[in-house]
C-alpha cells in the first residue's frame, strides 16, 4: 500500500464537514422549530434546542390534518401523489422513446440531438416555465392556435393538466439523459444475437433492451419523482389553489405568523415520505457500484 490510511479519508474531509454543518445540522434546527414554540409578540418561530423541552403538540395537530377531522391536508397530499405519479409516468414513456431513438437510431443527427437535449440544463428552468406561462395566457399563442381550429379560448392556468404537463416539462430532461447513457452503452451485438436467435424487433426490445435498461429507468424515475414532491413553484406559476401541492403547504406555512412549528412539522413529514424511495434507490445504486 502506497498510501497512508488517512490519505484518502482526508480528501473527503472538507465535503463531509460542509455537509455536517450545512446539511445535517439544519435538520436539527428543523426539529427544534417543529417541536418548539413561537414568540408571544410577533409569533415568529422560536426553536427549542433542548430535546427535553420539546413539545409535540403542533406536530400532532399537523399530522392529524392529514387524516382526522376536516383533513384539510389530505387533498393536497393525494393530489401531489397523483401529479407526481402521472408526471413521472409521462416522463418515463416519453423520455424513453426519445432516449431510445437518440441512442439507437439517430445516426448522423445524434450529436445535434444530444446538444438540443442538453439545452434545458442551461436554459433556466424558470425561463422555460415562464415561457409556457406566457403561451398559456388567455391571449397567448396556444389559445390563438386553438382559435384557428375554431376553439374558444381556454383558461389553462390553474388546471391540473397544466400543472402536470408543467412538471413533465421541467423534469423530463433528468429522465432522458440517464436513460440515454444507459441505452447508448447497450452493446449492439447483444441485440443482434437476439435477432439471430429469432426474435422480432419488439421481442428483442422486450427481452433484451428493456431488462438491460432497468437500472437506468429506476435511476431516472427517482431523480425525476423525488424533487417533484417538494415542487411548489410549478403550481405557483401555472396552477391555482385548487391544484396546490405539498410543497405549497410548506411554502405558505413558512411565510405565515405563528406557523413556524407547523412548517417544521410539514418538512419533517415530507422527509419521512421521501425517505423510503430514497433509501431503496441508494441501496440499489450501492449494489450496482459494488458490482462494477
Amino acid at each position: 500500500m502506497h498510501y497512508p490510511r488517512w490519505y484518502w479519508g482526508s480528501f473527503t474531509l472538507p465535503g463531509s464537514v460542509w455537509l455536517a454543518v450545512f446539511f445535517v445540522l439544519p435538520f436539527y434546527v428543523v426539529l427544534s422549530v417543529a417541536f418548539g414554540t413561537v414568540d408571544p409578540l410577533f409569533r415568529l418561530p422560536l426553536p427549542v434546542y433542548q430535546p427535553w423541552w420539546w413539545s409535540f403538540a403542533t406536530f400532532q395537530t399537523t399530522l392529524e390534518k392529514f387524516y382526522a377531522g376536516d383533513r384539510i391536508y389530505f387533498d393536497p397530499l393525494l393530489r401531489t401523489l397523483m401529479y407526481v405519479a402521472t408526471a413521472s409516468l409521462i416522463c418515463l414513456v416519453l423520455g424513453y422513446a426519445v432516449a431510445y431513438y437518440t441512442a439507437r437510431h439517430a445516426g448522423r443527427w445524434k450529436g445535434l440531438i444530444l446538444v438540443l437535449l442538453i439545452s434545458p440544463f442551461w436554459i433556466s428552468y424558470l425561463m422555460r416555465i415562464y415561457a409556457w406561462q406566457s403561451l398559456l395566457q388567455p391571449d397567448g399563442y396556444i389559445n390563438d392556435a386553438g382559435g384557428l381550429f375554431g376553439l374558444s379560448p381556454v383558461i389553462w392556468i390553474g388546471r391540473p393538466v397544466t400543472v402536470v404537463l408543467g412538471l413533465v416539462y421541467g423534469y423530463i430532461p433528468f429522465m432522458i439523459l440517464p436513460l440515454f447513457g444507459f441505452l447508448d452503452r447497450i452493446d449492439q451485438h447483444l441485440l443482434e444475437a437476439g435477432r439471430d436467435l429469432g426474435a422480432g424487433s419488439f421481442e428483442t426490445f422486450r427481452r433484451v433492451t428493456l431488462p438491460l435498461s432497468k437500472p437506468g429507468i429506476l435511476a431516472g424515475l427517482v431523480i425525476v419523482s423525488l424533487p417533484m414532491f417538494g415542487d411548489y413553484y410549478t403550481n405557483n406559476l401555472l396552477g391555482s389553489t385548487s391544484t396546490s401541492m405539498y410543497g405549497n403547504l410548506i411554502d405558505s406555512a413558512v411565510g405565515q405568523a405563528g406557523q413556524g412549528p407547523e412548517a417544521g412539522s410539514l418538512v419533517l413529514i415530507l422527509v419521512a415520505l421521501v425517505m423510503i424511495p430514497m433509501l431503496y434507490y441508494l441501496r440499489s445504486t450501492r449494489r450496482t457500484t459494488e458490482a462494477a
Binding site: P40, L41, L44, I72, S240, T243, S244, N248
Partner: protein
C-alpha cells in the same frame, strides 16, 4: 439604561437577551445561549408562559383609540442629514420611481429599495433583523406590536410639517385611532375594498343591486378574481354575511366566511390573485374582481390600446359602510439614516409629490386635503365611472376598519386561510 431609541431592548426572554448581548462573535452566542438557558424559550425569567403576554395587549379600535408608549425620544431637530443611502422597505411596485428619483436628486443620495411580497414576510424579516431599513410601510395592525417590540422610533414632528399642513386632520389631531398623537406613524395611502367589474359585461344598476353577490353569479364563472390576502378575503365575506366586526373572533362567522370563499372557488371557478384587479381585469381576463380602490384607479394603465377608460366599474356600499383601511409609514428604531428618513417622509407628504405618486403611478389615494373627488374627475385622474373609488373623510367614520387581531382570533383566521390555500 438610557432609553435611546436606537438601543434595541428586546424584553422577550432571557435567552434572546443573552444571544443579542454577546455581539457578533460567531459560534459563541448560540453555545452560551444553549448552556445558559435555564428557562424555557418563549417564557420570561420568571417562567411565566409566553402566550399570556399577548392577552395583556390592548387592541386599538376606532371606538377605543390607543396612545402608544414613548420608547425613547425622537431624534433632535438639528441632527445633520445623513449621506444615505436611504433604505426603503416596501411592497413591490408601490412607489413611483420618478418620485424616488426626484428625492435622490434633491438630496444627493441614492435610494435602495427592498421589497416584500406580503406583510407577514416583511414583518418577519424586519423583526428578525434580516433587513435594515430607514423607512418601512406596515399596515395599521402591526404598528402597536412593532412599538411593543421596540422596533420603531418616535417621529420628530418638527421635521415633518407637511402632515399637518396637507393631510386630513384626523391623522394629526387627534391622530389615528391606532396611534393617537401620531407618535410613530404618518399615513401612506388610504383605500376602500369593494367589487370591481367590467361595465361592458355588467351594467351599473345590476352591479349595484348584486353587490357582493357578483362573485357568486354563475354568469361570470371562471372570470372572478379574489384577493390572495387573508384579511381582505375573509373580511369581505364576513361583511357579506352581515358580520360588521371586521376583526371578528367568532369561530362560526369565520368558518362561514371560509366556506363562502371555498364555494366561490369550487363552484364558480374564482381564482385568488394579487394582480387580478389592476392587471387582469382591464385585459379582460376577469369580469368581476375584489378590488382595493387604488387598484381599480390604477388599472387604467393596463388597458389595452383602444379600450376606453370607462369600461372599468367599481361598486362599494353607497352608505360608505364597507371595508376601509390605510397603510402607514414608519421609521424603524435602528434606522441608519433617521434624519434622512424624516426628510423622505416630509418629501412624500408634500402636496405635489404625494399627488404625483397617486395620479401618475399607483392610483392609491393619499388622504390629502387638496384631493377632492371633483378635482380628480376634472383632471381626468379618475373617470366618472369610478367615482365610488374616491375617498372622503367620512369614509373613516362610517366604514369598517381592519385592525390588529388578538392571537386567538388570528389563529382562527389563519387556520381558515390555510384550509383555503390547501385547496379545500
Amino acid at each position: 439604561m438610557s432609553g435611546h431609541p436606537r438601543e434595541r431592548r428586546t424584553g422577550l426572554s432571557r435567552r434572546e437577551f443573552l444571544r443579542r448581548s454577546i455581539g457578533a462573535a460567531a459560534v459563541l452566542p448560540s453555545a452560551s445561549a444553549i448552556l445558559a438557558a435555564c428557562s424555557k424559550p418563549g417564557t420570561d425569567a420568571g417562567g411565566n408562559g409566553g402566550e399570556t403576554g399577548s392577552n395583556e395587549r390592548v387592541l386599538a379600535r376606532p371606538d377605543n383609540p390607543v396612545t402608544l408608549p414613548m420608547k425613547g425620544d425622537p431624534i433632535p431637530t438639528d441632527t445633520p442629514i445623513e449621506s444615505g443611502p436611504l433604505r426603503v422597505y416596501n411592497w413591490d411596485a408601490y412607489f413611483y420611481k420618478k418620485v424616488l428619483k426626484e428625492f435622490e436628486d434633491e438630496y444627493g443620495v441614492t435610494v435602495e429599495w427592498t421589497t416584500f411580497n406580503n406583510m407577514e414576510e416583511g414583518i418577519q424579516k424586519l423583526v428578525a433583523g434580516q433587513v435594515q431599513a430607514d423607512v418601512f410601510f406596515p399596515t395599521t395592525d402591526y404598528v402597536s406590536r412593532l412599538v411593543d417590540g421596540n422596533l420603531l422610533q418616535p417621529l420628530n414632528h418638527e421635521l415633518i410639517p407637511n402632515l399637518e399642513a396637507n393631510y386630513w386632520k384626523v391623522f394629526s389631531d387627534p391622530g389615528p385611532y391606532y396611534d393617537l398623537g401620531w407618535r410613530y406613524t404618518v399615513p401612506y395611502v388610504i383605500y376602500t375594498t369593494g367589487v370591481a367589474y367590467r361595465r361592458d359585461r355588467i351594467d351599473d344598476a345590476a352591479a349595484a343591486a348584486a353587490g357582493y353577490e357578483l362573485f357568486f353569479d354563475p354568469q361570470f364563472q371562471d372570470a372572478v378574481s379574489y384577493y390572495d390576502s387573508y384579511r381582505d378575503a375573509l373580511g369581505m365575506m364576513l361583511l357579506r354575511d352581515g358580520v360588521t366586526d371586521a376583526n371578528s373572533d367568532d369561530p362560526a362567522a369565520i368558518t362561514a366566511a371560509k366556506d363562502a370563499i371555498l364555494q366561490m372557488i369550487n363552484d364558480n371557478g374564482a381564482r385568488l390573485t394579487i394582480n387580478g384587479t389592476y392587471a387582469k381585469l382591464p385585459e379582460g381576463e376577469f369580469s368581476v374582481a375584489q378590488a382595493w380602490s387604488g387598484d381599480i384607479v390604477g388599472a387604467k394603465w393596463f388597458l389595452p390600446k383602444g379600450t376606453p377608460e370607462d369600461v372599468l366599474g367599481y361598486w362599494y356600499p353607497p352608505d360608505k359602510k364597507g371595508l376601509v383601511g390605510n397603510d402607514t409609514i414608519v421609521i424603524p428604531a435602528d434606522a441608519p439614516s433617521p434624519r434622512l428618513a424624516h426628510e423622505f417622509l416630509n418629501f412624500f407628504l408634500d402636496e405635489h409629490w404625494g399627488y404625483i405618486n397617486f395620479a401618475d403611478w399607483n392610483g392609491y389615494q393619499p388622504p390629502m386635503t387638496s384631493i377632492v373627488p371633483d378635482r380628480l374627475v376634472e383632471e381626468g385622474v379618475v373617470p366618472e365611472s369610478l367615482s365610488l373609488a374616491v375617498l372622503g373623510e367620512e369614509n373613516f367614520t362610517l366604514g369598517y376598519l381592519q385592525g390588529e387581531l388578538s392571537a386567538e382570533a388570528d389563529a382562527l383566521w389563519l387556520g381558515a386561510w390555510s384550509e383555503i390555500q390547501a385547496g379545500g
